[in-house]
């Protein structure tokens, strides 16, 4: 890693901005957050990712002050924030519905928080103008929220929550209401604004692509627990569990039994009558331990002839999903297992030489697969 890489979580001396310590949140008998410990550092763009009901929104609402922890301690910049009401926290939130005040103009919406701070008139004017410029809304200042488009409303909501220069900005599914193309543009805009303002962003999303694009680190959550916290690359390339591998992107999971062979190497018995697969793992496995081999489809090569590779299996093409830039081949192995392989369509489709019902070879290297314990 170079010296300029932003990675405070690798520095043991770094003080986290937010610190969750054994936090539990219960609603009646339902446990929304289950004994969770997490550090988030200044200037991070931190994504909470998980299916609906996994507790990510509850976690965010505890930071905003709308919910209090049932147990444990939440610190913001070293201070315990339990019981501090939302209006006394240096934290602002951008709501999923945007929650723009319909009776106020764009300008007044952005100025709303500044006015509550009894800021001088000239200062408010300057700050609002700065926010309008940052979000490219100068020409819409006098409009009411219902007089602007969805994308513009999203930017007003962002400008309003950034206006008070919070230590921490919370974004609850900020791009959920936008269509796909606008969402992608806006993701880069968000990253740009985050960099310019140097604010710490915590974003809640169920869209893994969005989390991967914008975040410096991603926390994958399930049932009120954090399953893995890592950079997008680590999460994708080195998931720590079947759940994470399956939740992030597309993955082939092959179940088998591991046997050590050489340093960090294992051979995996996966189907009767088939040669074992070889894989590498830094995590130790005992002999005959059950494991899952996770291989990303784009790391599986497809060919007519048997290739020279660490792992090669033969199968029959079941289905082809043509996505334009890439095609995904669904190949059924003799054991009945279906493996997905992806290939970039570098040639025009007319010259594609693999088609339905073809017998093909799938291959991947020993380092391409990740071994996961049960």
């Amino acid at each position: 890693m170079g010296q300029n890489v932003f990675a405070p979580w690798t520095d043991p001396a770094a003080e986290p901005l937010i610190r969750f310590q054994n936090v539990t949140k219960r609603f009646g008998s339902f446990v929304a957050i289950d004994d969770l410990t997490l550090d988030i550092y200044e200037q991070e763009f931190f994504a909470l990712l998980g299916p609906s009901g996994c507790g990510k929104t509850t976690l965010m609402r505890m930071l905003a002050g709308f919910e209090n922890a049932s147990e444990g301690r939440i610190e913001l910049a070293g201070q315990d924030i339990d019981g501090i009401p939302p209006n006394k926290r240096a934290v602002n939130m951008m709501f999923q519905s945007y929650a723009l005040f319909p009776h106020l103009s764009v300008w007044d919406n952005i100025a709303f928080g500044l006015r509550r701070d009894r800021m001088a008139k000239a200062e408010i004017d300057a700050r609002v103008d700065e926010m309008l410029k940052l979000t490219r809304l100068e020409s819409f200042a006098r409009r009411k929220p219902h007089q602007i488009s969805g994308g513009q409303r999203q930017r007003v909501a962002l400008a309003r929550s950034l206006a008070k220069a919070p230590k921490l900005l919370l974004l609850d599914e900020p791009l959920g209401a936008l269509d796909k193309k606008l969402r992608q543009e806006t993701q880069f805009e968000l990253m740009d604004i985050q960099e310019k303002t140097g604010t710490t962003f915590v974003i809640v999303t169920h869209d893994q692509e969005e989390a991967m694009t914008v975040a410096s680190r991603v926390a994958v959550m399930d049932h009120g627990r954090i399953i893995q916290v890592a950079t997008p690359e680590e999460i994708y390339e080195g998931p720590n569990s079947v759940y994470v591998a399956d939740f992030i992107g597309d993955v082939n999971l092959i179940e088998g039994r591991a046997t050590a062979s050489g340093e960090d190497g294992y051979s995996i018995e996966w189907a009767a009558g088939q040669p074992p697969l070889s894989a590498q793992s830094k995590r130790p496995f005992t002999d005959a331990q059950r494991c899952h081999l996770a291989v990303r489809p784009e790391k599986v090569a497809i060919s007519h002839d048997r290739p020279e590779a660490d792992n090669a299996v033969e199968g029959r093409v079941l289905d082809i999903a043509y996505l334009g830039n890439i095609s995904t081949y669904h190949v059924e192995l003799p054991s009945g297992l279906v493996i997905k392989a992806q290939a970039a369509n570098t040639r025009r489709i007319a010259r594609r030489d693999i088609t339905w019902e073809d017998t093909v070879w799938l291959s991947w290297s020993a380092s391409a697969a990740v071994m996961l314990a049960d």
């Binding site: 939130m93 709501f95 928080g113 509550r116 488009s149």
Partner: protein, 272 residues
């Protein structure tokens, strides 16, 4: 525009005739020259002139107006507060009981409400007059306000209030600066409803009014018992006119707002 079939034309005519013929007759006879209500003797506006000179009648009108303004204002404040707590504060102990109880006066026979208030005022030793009528009207119109306001609050996006808190408002500021302006139309219609209810209430007012204060409906009712005079017709016509103008204005304003909003939203989509 489609032409109505003969059946639909007939049902429409019958329906509206049923609703409006009595009122039309009343309006026509208010311009009757004759003192006899049922005998037409030519057009005249003299009963309107008589009405203006009738001190007792004007006094009653003034009392009614004051009672209506005061009671509807107090009812609006109390009713809005009750609706806010019942809709917003979720499940507190006894919530179902309270929300049921606030609607009960809607179906309570007015005679009973009037009688119980009368007993209360006597028990308290309150002299019956404007104050007691205001209190009584507040009591029964408050639940109407609360129904109107809570139906608006149910559809109110809670995150708007949370956003206000998040941006530094105290809970009261959030209500004053965000919730109240947004639910204002419902609060205003609640006020208008309470105002109208108070304006035309006869039963409760007759229990709670005293010799020092008589409202217009009581005045009209007692006058009619001595025989319908064309003056009463004139007075009723004026009341109908006021109500009509009010209703038409309110619907025009809301229609214009709706149209403007629709146009704005179309423009926003096109500019996007």
């Amino acid at each position: 525009m489609t032409r109505l079939s003969w059946f639909n034309t007939v049902s429409l005519t019958l329906g509206f005739a049923f609703l409006y013929i009595p009122m039309i007759i009343l309006i026509i006879y208010s311009f009757n020259e004759s003192r006899l209500v049922t005998v037409w003797a030519g057009f005249s506006t003299k009963w309107y002139g008589e009405l203006i000179r009738n001190e007792a009648m004007l006094d009653a009108a003034w009392v009614t107006l004051r009672v209506a303004v005061m009671s509807s204002t107090i009812a609006t404040v109390l009713g809005t507060m009750a609706a806010y707590v019942l809709v917003r504060e979720g499940r507190f102990f006894g919530r179902t009981l309270f929300s049921g109880m606030i609607y009960a006066p809607l179906v309570m026979p007015e005679v009973i409400t009037g009688l119980s208030l009368l007993l209360l005022f006597i028990g308290l030793g309150l002299d019956r007059g404007i104050l007691t009528i205001v209190l009584a009207h507040t009591t029964f119109s408050m639940c109407f306000v609360s129904v109107v306001v809570s139906s608006r609050l149910v559809t109110f996006d809670r995150s708007l209030e949370e956003a206000a808190l998040d941006l530094g408002c105290s809970p009261f500021e959030a209500f004053r600066l965000v919730t109240l302006p947004i639910i204002a139309p419902a609060v205003i219609s609640g006020w208008l409803l309470a105002f109208t209810l108070s304006l035309d209430d006869l039963v409760i007012a007759s229990f709670t009014s005293g010799p020092s204060a008589t409202t217009l409906p009581i005045k009209i009712f007692s006058a009619v018992r001595l025989g319908v005079s064309p003056e009463i017709n004139a007075l009723s016509t004026i009341m109908i006119a006021i109500v009509t103008v009010g209703v038409i204005t309110a619907s025009l304003v809301s229609k214009r707002n709706a149209l403007r909003r629709q146009k704005d939203e179309q423009a926003a989509v096109q500019n996007a």
